[in-house]
Symmetry: C2
Subunit: 287 residues, 2 copies
């Protein structure tokens, strides 16, 4: 599954490296996407597609690619000087640190466009599935409740923590599970709960990592939530309270998986990924 | 036609103003889209759709909306401090001047997503037309040869003037004519030449305006090409040389219109819009 995803992403990035393309932007796009992080969202998309029969694998690959490209776009823009001003990402220089803010803005824009392009190309083989797939993605990233809305809550004078977390993290996990189902021709609605629970779990894990890990552990600056006065579940529930909430959310995710041929495999995958979520020091303290 | 477009854009912006949306980003989106400029590109898209029979008007409206939203997104990002740092646009404060750079970045991102969302929603009624419509738009705005590529050429140490102009301006005009045809179920290829010629004409007109008009005339800063050492046809051909090139391109555009029921109306529209292109002082000097 991992190899399938990397090949699909490679094909997308290679298309942007055409001879007539501006070379620095092409290089910035490759830097933004390779080598990847855990690729959690697109793997989840593919895992749901497989659980639903995966009868149109090119479309599932494209949906997974689109999810990852949109995630990478949000990271590139979040790292900009006007937001987090993060010099590192995944243990390497961030896109703006290496290529400058102008190319980082454009790289994010290009990645968003490439996400829809990947889906449109694969959708030519199954156009009837395309409208719902597209709107599932636009809901996950756009206004009023997707990633950009989540990021925009940080610019509001008063902030709804639940709307903030749901939009900034949860919405793309929901898009991942639902688009996985849609790419395989299945009803997406029973898959919303899995995306919701995993998105919430990742948000808690992210807050925990930001609070207890160092920049060397994580490959990006930490302690940012406190420094930027961003709402955090650690601030609200304390470290062990937040850790308990993470475990509950993973259990909720596993229980939410609807009956389907691949349900057992998917439950095993979710449990496996969950073990990687919590900072090791906390897992030891809680054991 | 103008009313039809404004209503479609209004519906898109209203969807982003949902009760759960971050209010400042919603306001920034409205500011970026209303009141509009000349809406040249989406009008061109609708005019071609009408010339081709306009048998799916909702899809044509969505294509025109998408073209305008992508254009607005590029303006919002071009005005950012890290690019042109323009405080005014259409005679009013630019989005970043009024809402700050973070919300301007996010507004551009959201507008890109909204463009594809509008197309996906309307495409549910004619999904077979959707893949080509989408890829026509992604080619116009994405890598390797769309708007973002055009903007990225400004960050390259050496620049191909032709690739720069074709990508920064021409590509979206080509997307406008071809998507107009596609939305009406027509072959898009005979419409490429019209988009190419008009895109080139607008780039010349833009260079002329930047060279001879004042900020008060134009509602945005002028003299930027020279100040930023950007390639300009005025620098290359002189004022009257560039004006002559503009007239040639308009004639080329009119001649390129393929045989179709609405060809006469479309030729009249192109000639009418062309009279608005050149700064009046130049038209007088050349008369």
């Amino acid at each position: 599954m991992a190899q399938r995803l990397e090949s699909a992403l490679e094909a997308v990035i290679a298309r942007a490296e055409a001879p007539n393309a501006p070379p620095l932007l092409a290089a910035a796009l490759r830097h933004a996407v390779f080598p990847g992080g855990a690729r959690v969202r697109p793997q989840l998309c593919l895992a749901v597609a497989q659980a639903c029969g995966d009868d149109a694998p090119d479309l599932a690959d494209a949906a997974a690619c689109a999810i990852e490209l949109l995630h990478c776009a949000s990271l590139v823009h979040d790292d900009l000087p006007c937001f987090d001003d993060a010099a590192t990402r995944r243990g390497r220089p961030s896109v703006h640190a290496l290529f400058g803010a102008p190319l980082a803005v454009l790289a994010g824009d290009a990645l968003i466009v490439m996400a829809f392009d990947a889906l449109a190309r694969a959708g030519a083989g199954a156009p009837a599935r395309l409208p719902a797939l597209l709107t599932t993605l636009t809901r996950g990233v756009g206004m009023p409740g997707g990633i950009v809305a989540g990021q925009a809550w940080e610019s509001e004078p008063s902030i709804s923590v639940e709307a903030y977390h749901r939009a900034k993290t949860g919405a793309l996990f929901v898009a991942a599970t639902m688009s996985g189902a849609l790419s395989a021709g299945a009803d997406p609605h029973p898959w919303r709960a899995l995306g919701d629970a995993l998105g919430a779990a990742y948000q808690v894990a992210d807050d925990l990592a930001d609070a207890v890990l160092t920049e060397a552990d994580l490959g990006k600056p930490t302690g940012r939530d406190a420094a930027l006065h961003r709402p955090s579940l650690v601030a609200e529930l304390g470290l062990m309270g937040a850790y308990g909430r993470l475990k509950d959310l993973v259990a909720e995710a596993v229980d939410s998986i609807p009956p389907c041929d691949g349900a057992d495999d998917l439950r095993a995958l979710v449990r496996l990924q969950a073990t990687r979520l919590a900072p090791k020091s906390l897992a030891r303290s809680a054991a």
